[in-house]
């Protein structure tokens, strides 16, 4: 109608599988760098997982420096940061015992009361809770990967499940690596984002796998590489379209959704891009190592 649907050719014929070695090397390097970053630099853990105290205030005509001077006189482990705009300030305090932390919040609040328009939020996570939250987050991600593997295994052949999980692990590690590079805060919401990325990426992969399975049945004589290429091309416009609409919504969330949700939106944006990439360049080529034609064997 508007001619824009011609951006993506109706029957694209791009040799994706021919590029697989280059992208495989790229991904392996990226994953190695990610793992190094995660072990050396680590993630910017938020208070959900590190424990500690966080207070967000909006100030009346007080600069962040002024507040910092007031607080650092009394607390030696306090850090301040502007949050979205000049008058919104985030105050973080290191973890102490539960009782002390609660008292510290009171002291901080009393100390800066006059300079503050509103205490927008205060959060405190004790050491036992933060380690529990980390454990549960880790469990959620692992169980999700296992459950997805089982589902794919039931619906497809196990080789597809393997390919899907390789792609998913790739997505999770790569995303975490980029979070470390950009120093994005890692919180409960990030875990949610990562699980959603897993769901999204697998969604993409499943659509392509579905087509691979269909084409395996349809073209019994065709080379595997060709079948995979054909399947990726068949589903290409859908892959691109869905990524674009999802990214449009996520950018809207990133720009307009407010400061609190921004790390979540950023993580999702990174993950959607990686997930889309991995479905085409990691999940499908992984199937090649099996040299299989499951339907032929069964017939």
């Amino acid at each position: 109608m508007f001619g824009l649907n011609k951006i993506i050719p109706v029957e694209p014929n791009i040799n994706f599988l021919g590029l697989r070695k280059k992208f495989l090397i790229f991904s392996i390097v990226a994953i190695i760098i990610s793992i190094c970053l995660l072990t050396v630099k680590g993630l910017n853990l938020g208070i959900d997982f590190k424990g500690g105290t966080l207070i967000e205030v909006s100030t009346k005509n007080t600069s962040i420096g002024e507040l910092r001077d007031m607080l650092s006189e009394n607390f030696n482990d306090v850090s301040l940061q502007e949050f979205g705009s000049k008058d919104k300030i985030l105050i973080r305090l290191q973890n102490k015992s539960n009782q002390e932390s609660i008292e510290t919040v009171n002291e901080v609040k009393n100390l800066i009361q006059d300079k503050v328009l509103e205490f927008r939020r205060s959060e405190f996570v004790g050491p036992t809770i933060s380690s529990e939250l980390l454990l549960r987050g880790f469990q959620a991600v692992s169980f999700a990967l296992i459950a997805i593997l089982i589902y794919i295994w039931l619906r497809f052949e196990w080789q597809f499940g393997f390919g899907a999980v390789v792609a998913l692990t790739h997505d999770v590690l790569f995303t975490l690596g980029l979070l470390s590079v950009f120093n994005v805060e890692f919180s409960l919401a990030t875990i949610a984002a990562i699980l959603t990325i897993a769901g999204y990426s697998i969604n993409d992969t499943v659509v392509i796998f579905d087509r691979v399975r269909e084409n395996l049945r349809k073209y019994k004589k065709m080379e595997l590489v060709e079948i995979f290429n054909l399947s990726v091309n068949n589903t290409l416009s859908r892959t691109v379209m869905t990524s674009l609409t999802t990214l449009l919504a996520l950018f809207s969330l990133f720009i307009f959704g407010g400061e609190v949700i921004r790390p979540f939106a950023l993580t999702m944006i990174i993950g959607v891009v990686i997930g889309t990439y991995s479905s085409v360049f990691i999940a499908v080529p992984t199937l090649l190592i099996f040299k299989f034609r499951p339907q032929d064997e069964n017939d």
């Binding site: 649907n5 959060e123 549960r136 949610a192 699980l195 609409t245």
Partner: protein, 516 residues
């Protein structure tokens, strides 16, 4: 309309209409309406409406220590009855070892003790008795402590005037509190931070030597003053009467003493109190709250009416808070705040506003994009998308789910992902167009072929969302709820509503070619 069953059209239209109608309560959002229909509105999470979330942990170790002390006290009494001297008592975390001067009566003591406490494990070893709290016994202590703590927390919160609090047990030894719309979480934390164990003890003013050398004689303890730690009192270890005998307490004002808390004992407490005060005229009576002295007035005359006042350096709030604590009763063990998340109303309102803008703009962008790419079919998908949003809102409202900030993110994400099913269908239709001529056949094949892909793709997303619900807490659960509802609604709108709309469009436009 040809080739489209009437019952199906009817069902689709009805479901979408229901979605729109039941979104109304959430869109109007009338706070206090009692109307059955308007009550079906979305609950806002604490992060959106403002409020406090607190997670409290019952300090069971204190309780076990106390229990061990009680048990060793019983053995001490038994030893006295049997005229055996105890030479040493040693406490550990889970047990207490009592050493006697000889082992002549040790079997008798053990047996009598066993008669009294069947659940406690007791062992003898030469002239020692070891009393141990085993897991089962600890569990009974734990359960009753949590139950009692829950009740007292509930009373304290109710007395503080918080509206619609949610108070529930969480795990083995924790209590979860959600206090919507609360302005001053510090005061609540203070109310919960005290065990509020009120006890009355006689003060020993004669033995000044013990106080000076800081050595506690048998049966006495040294405690400090609440306002000045340097002021010490030597008091009887045994409490004469305690907070459990109180029937009422309230903040009052005394002309000479200022703000005070007046209290009244029940019959038993009144009798005890009367007896103590009449036997000990001239001595001082210390009033202790959680082991520190609030006040220690001299007993001028017997108090037999069963009521009195506690004075101290109270202000009005302090006196009324203490009264609240005394009325609610003492906690069996101290509560420690292990997690707190408080959001002010300002931030909540900002988050809602930002969420609305992000949803609206996200929706607009996706809709424009769909029309640019798919033309008329894109417009049809957009109608489905809008219906999808209505259905999510109406479901959230009718099942009484809680909308959180991550929940809003889930809706925005759904907007982006919901068109996926439509895209899958349209792309299939495009492919089918190359093989077929009849538009109805093309459309039918497109939908049929896309169906299994749509199911597979969405079920994997649902798996992730369900696990998120199982392992997530609070706000994150809100995200998994909106995401799951969004995924389910998008399957329905794509497979049913878009399907209906496409057939409807084809029948009225009577086109022989598909513009896609």
């Amino acid at each position: 309309m040809q080739k489209y069953p009437l019952w199906k059209s009817f069902t689709v239209i009805l479901l979408v209409l229901l979605g729109v109608i039941f979104s109304i309560p959430s869109i109007i959002y009338n706070d206090d309406s009692d109307n059955w229909f308007l009550k079906n509105k979305i609950n806002l999470g604490l992060d959106l409406q403002g409020g406090s979330y607190l997670l409290l942990e019952v300090q069971l170790d204190t309780l076990y220590a106390e229990e061990l002390e009680n048990l060793s006290e019983s053995i001490r009494l038994l030893a006295r009855e049997n005229k055996v001297k105890i030479i040493n008592v040693k406490y550990n975390i889970n047990d207490v070892t009592i050493t006697f001067e000889n082992n002549i009566k040790i079997k008798d003591i053990k047996n009598s003790f066993f008669q009294m406490y069947r659940g406690v494990s007791i062992q003898e070893n030469e002239n020692r008795i070891i009393v141990k709290l085993d897991e089962a016994y600890k569990k009974t202590i734990q359960d009753s402590a949590i139950k009692q703590s829950l009740e007292i927390v509930r009373k304290r919160i109710d007395e503080s005037g918080t509206k619609e609090p949610l108070i529930q047990r969480s795990g083995k030894k924790r209590i979860l509190l959600q206090l919507p719309g609360i302005k001053d979480p510090e005061r609540i934390k203070e109310l919960l931070g005290k065990t509020a164990k009120l006890t009355f003890h006689l003060v020993d003013d004669d033995n000044t030597a013990a106080l000076k050398s800081n050595i506690e004689p048998f049966g006495k303890i040294i405690v400090s003053d609440i306002y000045d730690e340097n002021i010490k009192y030597l008091i009887d270890k045994r409490s004469l009467v305690g907070g459990e005998n109180l029937v009422d307490a309230k903040g009052s004002f005394d002309q000479t003493e200022g703000h005070a808390v007046s209290f009244r004992f029940d019959t038993e407490g009144a009798q005890k109190f009367g007896r103590i005060t009449s036997n000990n005229v001239g001595k001082r009576l210390a009033v202790l709250l959680d082991g520190v002295v609030i006040t220690a007035p001299r007993i001028n005359s017997a108090i037999t009416g069963g009521s009195g006042i506690i004075t101290g350096n109270f202000d009005a709030q302090g006196a009324s808070d203490l009264a609240v604590l005394l009325r609610a009763g003492a906690l069996p063990a101290p509560l420690e705040i292990v997690e707190e998340r408080s959001v002010g109303a300002g931030l909540g309102a900002d988050s809602i506003a930002a969420g609305k803008i992000a949803s609206f703009i996200g929706m607009l962008l996706v809709c424009i994009f769909m029309v640019l790419i798919y033309g008329t079919f894109g417009a049809l998908a957009n109608i489905s998308l809008i219906a999808n949003i209505f259905i999510i809102i109406s479901l959230l409202g009718t099942i009484g789910a809680t909308l959180t900030l991550p929940g809003i993110a889930g809706i925005v994400l759904t907007i982006g992902m919901a068109v996926d099913a439509n895209v899958l269908i349209f792309e299939r239709i495009k492919e089918e167009r190359l093989k077929n001529r009849n538009v109805y056949q093309i459309v039918k094949n497109g939908f049929d072929r896309a169906m299994s892909t749509i199911l597979d793709a969405n079920i994997t997303t649902l798996i992730a969302a369900v696990l998120l619900f199982a392992f997530g807490s609070g706000p994150i659960r809100g995200f998994s709820i909106t995401l799951s509802l969004g995924v389910i609604a998008s399957m329905f709108t794509a497979l049913m509503l878009t399907n209906f709309l496409v057939y409807f469009y084809l029948s009225i436009s009577s086109k022989k070619e598909l513009n896609l």
